[in-house]
């Protein structure tokens, strides 16, 4: 998809693998079964985390990159 000109934020847990296969925009997640979630949090807190992830993804697709780049959610960022 990136090759076709569509910047794509990949939300995934196995970050080193994503880097190895060359995914250009990587947003680390907290677990394989819940890429956009975190069941250890309350419902509201989990939704805040999900918002932060998607906002990070939007930031990643708005950022020029030249090679696999990791865009972690900043711990202090609020939704």
């Amino acid at each position: 998809m990136e090759r076709a000109g569509i910047p794509t934020a990949l939300l995934c847990n196995l970050v080193s693998l994503a880097e190895k296969v060359g995914a250009p925009r990587i947003v680390p997640t907290r677990g394989i079964p819940y890429p956009a979630g975190d069941p250890s949090l309350s419902h509201d807190d989990e939704k805040e985390w999900r918002r932060a992830l998607v906002k990070r993804a939007l930031h990643a697709v708005s950022t020029p990159v030249t090679s696999p780049t990791i865009f972690p959610v900043e711990q202090e960022a609020s939704a």
């Binding site: 090759r3 000109g5 995934c12 190895k20 394989i32 079964p33 999900r50 998607v54 939007l58």
Partner: protein, 342 residues
């Protein structure tokens, strides 16, 4: 006189670049673009009677495109079809492979050329494909090889790796002179001697991707949510596989604010889906994306989400899905994507 039809994409037919990638199949009489040199290489006993072309997005994403293109090819009563060279261009390679396979199934001899890493190679099945360079900078050498291969195909001769043949050939069982144990030891010794590529079976290689230009501002962009987390409507009505997926699906989310538990499930076989089934937005974050759209942080969410199961998916299929998703999303004017992976 052997009648040859040549297939190329919109760019090599001289229609334009990406801006013309959506055009439907059409044709011009005689040889066009790279076909001119190809015609010379074929010699005096063969003639390119027509050049059929199609936009890359159309060819890669419209249902039945290969059949449409083949119909145009057949209308010129060819003895042979030549497609490409597609170089590393994925949509073009996919188009050539599908067209080639359709022609082969219809009994028309065919030869295709593309780079050995072209993601479209796998769809060519066992039809003859010869390796081209990675980019059109290598047009001349690529045409030399394609022309030579085409002459052999016209003569009814089989192509081998000596001709630059790549991809699958129909498997023939033979008895090796040495046992596998002996061959394995020989292979180790060959590798230790410095030949890093020696192998009996080539493994898939991951290629370098040139990242896309970023979007200016998500607030003005159309963004698609896509996933390999196998989230589908309850009951999996279209039968998405839980592993080794051979397909992908799309589901509308235009009026949908969130994926509700019970309405959607994950059928992914690679992890425990209990958390996802409690809240499918844990895989496809539609709830927050919709809120961000309403708040103006996202210009517009694409009207559907695309989904497959990323469990034991072959590299070749995954590449193909990526190409097809890209073609579909480009056609729909989507400018960026959020892909969740499990």
């Amino acid at each position: 006189m052997t009648r040859v039809v040549h297939y190329v994409n919109q760019f090599f037919a001289g229609l334009g670049g990406e801006d013309q990638a959506g055009i439907a199949p059409s044709l011009k009489e005689g040889a066009v673009g790279p076909g001119r040199r190809l015609a010379q290489l074929l010699g005096d006993d063969a003639e390119i009677v027509a050049t059929v072309y199609c936009g890359d997005d159309y060819a890669a994403s419209v249902e039945g495109a290969a059949a449409q293109i083949l119909a145009l090819v057949m209308s010129y009563e060819p003895d042979v079809l030549i497609a490409g060279p597609a170089f590393g261009s994925g949509r073009y390679g996919l188009a050539c492979a599908r067209l080639g396979a359709a022609a082969d199934a219809a009994g028309l001899p065919v030869v295709v050329a593309m780079h050995e890493d072209n993601p479209g190679l796998d769809e060519a099945g066992t039809i003859p494909v010869v390796a081209s360079g990675a980019t059109s900078r290598e047009m001349r050498a690529s045409l030399d090889r394609l022309g030579a291969a085409a002459r052999k195909v016209i003569a009814g001769d089989a192509l081998t790796s000596d001709d630059g043949r790549i991809g699958r050939a129909a498997r023939a069982t033979t008895v090796a002179e040495t046992t596998a144990a002996e061959r394995a030891v020989d292979l180790v010794l060959t590798r230790l001697a410095g030949d890093r590529d020696a192998t009996e079976i080539p493994l898939p290689r991951f290629d370098r991707v040139m990242p896309a230009q970023p979007i200016e501002d998500p607030a003005t962009a159309t963004v698609a949510l896509v996933t390999e987390g196998a989230v589908v409507p309850n009951g999996n009505p279209d039968g998405l596989e839980s592993a080794r997926a051979t397909r992908w699906l799309r589901y509308p989310i235009d009026e949908v604010a969130s994926l509700a538990s019970g309405d959607y499930v994950s059928v992914h076989g690679g992890f425990s889906t209990s958390w996802a089934n409690e809240d499918p937005c844990r895989i496809l974050p539609l709830d927050v994306a919709r809120e961000l759209e309403q708040e103006g942080a996202i210009g517009k969410l694409h009207a559907a989400y695309l989904v497959t199961a990323g469990n034991g998916t072959s590299v070749a299929n995954a590449r193909r899905f990526g190409i097809e998703w890209a073609a579909e999303l480009r056609k729909a004017g989507v400018q960026a994507a959020v892909l969740t992976s499990t």
